[in-house]
Amino acid sequence: MISILLTLILAAAVAGGVLLRRTSPWIGGAMSVAAAAGIYFAWRPDDLSQIAHLMGVGRGADLVLYIWVVVSFLAMVALMLRLRALREQITQLARHAALGGATPPDQGGDAESAAGRR
């Protein structure tokens, strides 16, 4: 039962990766390959355990967990950098708008009004 459910979800991920390849070839490709591998291992969990043993990890499920942690961390850093780039663009846009709409002092000239005060 779980194998069928996983296959359905991962098949959707493979399709999503293929679609994503148009905009992000590397991420889309990696997503498709990882999801396809997931489908394979959903039906052949013993193969995954063998790979895990080769890498010095006790169980296949543990290997998946470790990979998941690393991938999540990398994805989070990539997202934060993307957010930062986006924020810089927004900043430039907002700055451009702000400078275009600058307004002078109410009294019609700071130098003159300041001279009166000094």
Partner: protein
């Protein structure tokens, strides 16, 4: 031409309507040109600043003090400023200190003069604030490689040539460390100058918390990761 005629004072402000008029008024007793950058305030900071005699540039959204400072510097340069003064909107800085710093910077042919409360005086500073600043200072020394006596002091005097080379990418509070890094990278001629900071209940409430310091750390770390 008076000694301050080519000088623009840049004040980043966010929700400072209670104090900004008084601060602008105080600055205009010493300097001729002031620009307040209203960083997307929800109160009438912009109107108060304009009424007090400042040019006003309004960010359509809140971007952070670093972004407001950069906008203000760009505005001042567009107006043909020869010198720029930056100071905080909460009234903790004395415009007369800024005038002394300007004279000092001209006399010593500096690119940038940084105010230092630890060379000068800090009135009403809590022990917690002092400890936080000392920690920030140690961090700044390590990350920028420049040994200063104060960190995150908003009172600075910058000549136009140096201001054109400053492109702040740190929108939030980490810009203070960024400026120090730029000084080092661009080999700007700089000196510190003793100034007096007056902490009031108002400025303490508006000031940075320990959580703010953590945000600064994260911002600086991210800036190291991506260019």
């Amino acid at each position: 031409m008076t000694e301050t005629a080519d000088t623009w004072v840049v004040i980043p402000a966010y929700n400072e309507s209670a104090k900004i008029g008084e601060v602008v008024g105080g600055v205009l007793r010493v300097f001729s040109h002031v620009v307040v950058v209203d960083d997307g305030s929800s109160d009438d900071t912009a109107a108060q600043a304009r009424a007090a005699g400042a040019h006003v540039v309004v960010h359509p959204i809140n971007l952070g003090q670093g972004a407001a400072l950069q906008t203000g510097m760009e505005f001042a340069l567009m107006q043909g400023a020869g010198w720029l003064v930056t100071l905080d909107a909460d009234g903790q800085h004395d415009p007369n200190d800024a005038r002394s710093m300007l004279a000092f910077a001209r006399e010593h042919d500096l690119d940038i003069c940084l105010g230092s409360r630890f060379l000068g005086r800090a009135e009403g500073m809590t022990q917690g604030r002092r400890a936080l600043l000392k920690a920030a200072l140690a961090f700044q020394t390590v990350t920028s490689g420049l040994r200063l006596t104060d960190a995150h002091n908003g009172l600075r005097v910058i000549n136009a040539r140096a201001a054109r080379r400053i492109r702040l990418r740190q929108n939030r509070m980490a810009h203070a460390s960024e400026i120090v890094s730029i000084i080092r990278r661009e080999k700007l001629r700089f000196k510190e100058f003793p100034v007096t900071i007056r902490y009031t209940e108002y400025s303490r409430a508006k000031g940075q918390s320990a959580l703010g310091a953590l945000n600064i750390l994260v911002d600086l770390l991210l800036s190291r990761l991506g260019k």
